[in-house]
Symmetry: C2
Subunit: 695 residues, 2 copies
């Protein structure tokens, strides 16, 4: 099984193929007709706003990254003055910087295509109806999907080819995830600031429709969809995908050293097949005869899953790979689908939870919140049990490869994560579809493209929301598995650094470990709180600005022709607020990790990571699902349930949705990245913790 | 240090002294003047309602306990047919039943005195002013405090004298905590159903004052204070106190077997001194010159703390106890105070969090919720770090007693919990003071005792709320420490049952352990969700009933003389709802534990308990603190801040308070008990899990 070089070359070819496919999709989307001047104009505002924000955000982040690169150069994997490691430190710096650049480029590509596809989708809704409109949005999203997965596979392959070193791989992954952490936080704060403020003043106070051009925050809201849900989410999934591949490779390399068999080839083979399956899945995405966009999206996800399972089984036969590892991968994929289905149960408006929350809203907003929180709490169980079971099975399947060592089992867990994320290209396509459809809806409203087009984009938008719940389940669960296996990576890094087996595990009964667990469990809570307080503060500023405009700009409220609000002011508030708030939460998480490491030592860090994973999964699932649930409960009422638009139940549901917005789009999905970053920091700094800790 | 018998006798004498003191306090309260017919009448409604509910609740619980007793007899500690253990099983059944009965009696005593003290406090507010009114409420609460701590010390001492057996002690503790689990859940659902419904219809919809006699739910609300906050909370703290003492004893017995030194004497000595300190603290409670009830309550807490530290130091000199163990106890006490102070920061209306939430309420209820959730999340960090540090220090202090064995260190952690709970008599007195003052306020309003009396009882009530946050911090932290040490107890039970060392710890890297952790972490979330959905459903029923009465009873809304609402109907709804909802949540937690044990085996259970503790502490702290914060933000606005009563900010704050009510009084404080019950189930069933597990 030493045919690593073969699979490295195949991986590069497959990623290039994915890029070519992305270019083809991009051209297809660009070639769609568009002519409406008003739509073009608004579309260009959105594109400008998104690009301006992205540029400013990347300037802030480049400063942070430069600082981090300097620290890495000085200290990682060992202090530069400890002799003979300058070149190694430099390799890691380069890998780290590559990670950040690849991630940033993927975000930029996403924005580029999304801000074209939104226009095309809007016009297609008017001209051609549901099917072409769906396809414009979906293929626009797929450009992002292909770009992200292609560049993550390419990046990991290149780092592997050039260095072949675990620490450099972790450095690349750390680059990707540190950028993702801040991009997701910044984008998440931007988008929810604008979304909440626009809704509160527009829908609740003044009773004007969503995306009404009179609303000063309406462009900011549409910009937010792009910078938060497209660029931020892209960075996030780029990071998850890199992390799962890297953690599998790190375990494969460690295993290779121990038993002399190189499983890295298999990792690259499966990763390439995952990308191929996604390409096929994207091509296969078609609207069925009934014209149900939700079903079209879900079908293409399931098709991708099936193709991946078949292709990897085929490859396992042809290249005589180990079937136990295939089993671990398949388990991951299977459990991912199960988790997606259960998330769907808690957020789908045909199911009991959404219906009950809508019903509870009749008694007022407090009941909306209480029932939503309760169902959100209930929703964590299936996913947590699923993650636990897939970790247990995949570990036990692979443990027999090297029975005396936990590395083989941990490798199994990381392959389950690879399996779960194998279809990530498809997931990103579906996810990026959402904000494009949402934007298109805005453009239809603002460009006055008619009721029929509005109805079409409404149904596209709602499908995006439903599918999001399913894909989010995948992403969170995969992050959980990845980080469980990174715990193994952390342990092998420590033992490598010590040159002897100082750690054989992390014993809960050891109070140093337990101390770490308690602190680690608090971090996702603190992190979410800081992000939400950021949104809270920022939205309060924007709400006053909107109030000011309606008060001071004469004729705006009445919709006098020719009177336009000052959209820029709102975009500025969202931008500046997001830039101010995006660093602290992530930085605190990293600093606490470092403090725990230097106080409690490597055993505390092990406990810390475990506590962090557990509470991170718990809170991420809770926040994503309850947020999705409130959103759909509101939509259910708006569609006429429990009193319909304007009723007391509707007002209560809007409160729920507003609370849910930062839950599901700012804090919840950022937790993924937070736990990944923290794991990578721990692994990278392991030798320092080993050398200089208080306890 | 073998003078165990001496300290057993001293413990019995001290508990009898506490009972005598309770009787004296009870007589003092009863002897206070009361003459107002209207107050007497309403007071008797409340007493009747509370007693009726308690009776019905105890009937349901006695069936559950009978079933549990039968199962214990058949299976615990080993199946009865496995030969020769009938007597042992019977001992445990008896210990279990004693635990339930002692706990039930303590609850009953609390209701008895609270429903007298409320009348006395109300009338004292009219006749004598702040000082005598405060003293009536406080001494009424202290009866409960003395009864609970006296009976827990007496119970543990008797079980120890008669059986001297770890499993019987755990059985007694299990009896106490299984009763507490359901009593707290039942009482919590009752009280919040009534409270929320009364507020929503009364304050929000109709704008009538709190405790207005026209409100059909007003008596149910006052009954709720008694069955939830007095009886439920009493059972809860009875359970925590028993659990901490029992876990210290179990570890002391295990340690005694290993190194031949009996530390049980020391546990009883410290427990007796804790009770004595509380008695002195209660006697010392006096209103200062400035007449600030909050300061009076906090001062008596700190006095008790100081006395306990001095007395135990003295005893350590006189009886030549080990100073390391004193150190562990002192650390626990010290960290408890620190945690109390930080909880106070997040819930006190003079501090930034409450002020910011009140400010955020000006922008609407969504911001009240978002900022409250955020501060609630932030508030977990100091307590989690504090618990972690006290566990680490107390373990390391005592580990040197028997360096080769974790038992000594675990004993240290359990003594830190004993230290934290040493002043539990004082805590319960303060806690039971709250609902008495709250009830008195209701009686003043309903009996029309005048504005001055209303003002006095208002200030007493508000002091109760503030102090509650501090004492809750103690209770949650102590439960955390207790259960960390019960993890040690679980391990020694498993090794005892196996007759050899099958467990030396629980390794996080082991996926069976990790699986347990993930499932364990979900349980407090599920448990809270089920309780909150119970309140939600029940409150919706009661709200419709209140609406019906205002619609159908002519003249009620206008307050026509002679027209009274049908109070009974509301009490019935609260009672029936609570009885229906109180069993499932607790039962699910127990069943999941058993399933994990039989599927994953003892190692999974270890992980399960750790996950349960971590997420339990996280959620309990989050819910208690955010609930307290919302309550005080509402009070701050009602006192004139941010627009005052009737403003938009006030309406938003009422939504926050309504969400916070089941957070802080139903789900949050029940999690304590849930994690204790689950730990005890695990320890008691350890030999069964060892014999019959799937993995």
């Amino acid at each position: 099984m030493g045919n690593l070089s073969l699979f490295l070359i195949i991986s590069i070819l497959v990623s290039i193929f994915a890029f070519a496919f992305a270019v083809w999709l991009y051209r297809w989307v660009s070639a769609q007709p568009s002519s409406n001047q008003r739509v073009k104009e608004v579309g260009s505002y959105i594109r400008q706003g998104a690009n301006t924000f992205l540029k400013k955000e990347y300037i802030v982040l480049s400063k942070f990254c430069a600082g981090a690169a300097l620290l890495i150069f000085l200290f990682l994997p060992a202090p530069i003055w400890s002799g003979g490691t300058v070149l190694h430190n430099l390799t890691i710096v380069l890998a780290y910087l590559c990670g950040t650049v690849f991630s940033a480029v993927a975000g930029k590509i996403g924005i580029q295509v999304a801000t074209i596809a939104n226009i095309k989708t809007a016009e297609a809704a008017q001209r051609g109806g549901l099917k072409p409109s769906f396809l414009s949005a979906f293929r626009g999203g797929a450009v992002m999907g292909m770009a992200v997965v292609g560049s993550s596979l390419l990046g990991v392959t290149l780092v592997m080819m050039i260095s072949g070193d675990s620490v450099a791989l972790l450095g690349f992954s750390f680059g990707a995830s540190s950028l993702a952490l801040f991009a997701k936080a910044g984008g998440g704060i931007f988008t929810k600031t604008a979304d909440i403020s626009a809704d509160l003043v527009g829908k609740v106070e003044l009773g004007i429709p969503e995306d009404d051009p009179r609303n000063p925050a309406v462009i900011a809201d549409n910009v937010g969809d792009n910078v938060g849900d497209v660029a931020g989410m892209g960075a996030d999934l780029f990071d998850s995908n890199v992390a799962s591949t890297v953690s599998a490779l790190v375990m494969a390399i460690a295993l290779g050293k121990k038993i002399g068999v190189d499983y890295a080839a298999m990792v690259f083979c499966y990763a390439s097949l995952g990308l191929l399956s996604s390409i096929i899945g994207v091509m296969a995405a078609r609207m069925g005869k009934k014209g149900d966009p939700t079903m079209a999206l879900n079908m293409s996800t399931y098709i991708t899953t099936g193709i991946f399972a078949v292709l990897t089984a085929g490859a396992t036969i042809v290249f005589q790979f180990d079937w136990r590892i295939w089993g671990a991968t398949a388990i991951g994929l299977f459990v991912g689908v199960i988790i997606g289905i259960t998330s769907d149960y808690f957020t789908n408006d045909n199911k009991k939870p959404v219906r009950n929350v809508a019903k509870a809203s009749e008694s007022g907003p407090a009941f909306t919140i209480l029932s939503g929180v309760s169902y959100g709490f209930l929703s964590v169980l299936p996913a947590m049990v699923g993650i636990g079971i897939s970790a247990m099975i995949s570990y036990n399947l692979c443990a027999s490869i090297a029975p005396e060592d936990p590395t083989a089992g941990m490798f199994g867990i990381s392959m389950a994560a690879v399996g779960m994320l194998s279809i990530v290209g498809m997931i990103i396509s579906n996810d990026a579809y959402g904000p494009i459809a949402d934007n298109a809806r805005g453009l239809v409203e603002m460009g006055d493209l008619g009721d029929e087009a509005l109805e079409i984009t409404d149904s596209l938008d709602s499908a995006g929301n439903t599918v999001k719940a399913v894909t989010k389940g995948f992403a969170i669960a995969a992050a959980g598995l990845t980080i469980i296996s990174l715990l193994g990576a952390f342990m092998s890094e420590v033992n490598d650094a010590a040159g002897t087996t100082v750690l054989t595990g992390f014993d809960i009964i050891n109070p140093t470990v337990f101390f770490g667990m308690l602190v680690g469990a608090s971090v996702p809570a603190i992190f979410s709180a800081m992000l939400m307080l950021g949104v809270d503060r920022n939205a309060q500023r924007m709400v006053s600005e909107i109030h000011r405009q309606f008060r001071e700009i004469k004729g705006l409220k009445e919709g006098k022709p020719g009177v336009v609000p000052e959209y820029d002011k709102c975009i500025d508030i969202a931008t500046n607020g997001a830039l101010k708030e995006l660093i602290p939460a992530g930085l605190v998480s990293i600093l606490v990790t470092i403090v725990v490491g230097f106080v409690g030592g490597v055993e505390s860090v092990g406990g810390y990571l475990a506590g962090n994973i557990i509470s991170g999964l718990l809170l991420a699932l809770f926040m994503s699902n309850s947020g999705g649930l409130w959103d759909n409960a509101k939509k259910y009422i708006e569609a006429g349930g429990n009193g319909g638009k304007g009723s007391e139940a509707h007002k209560a549901a809007v409160v729920g949705d507003t609370v849910g917005d930062p839950f599901k789009d700012t804090a919840g999905p950022s937790i993924n990245t937070q736990i990944t970053v923290v794991s990578l920091v721990a692994s990278l700094m392991s030798s320092l913790f080993l050398a200089f800790s208080l306890f």
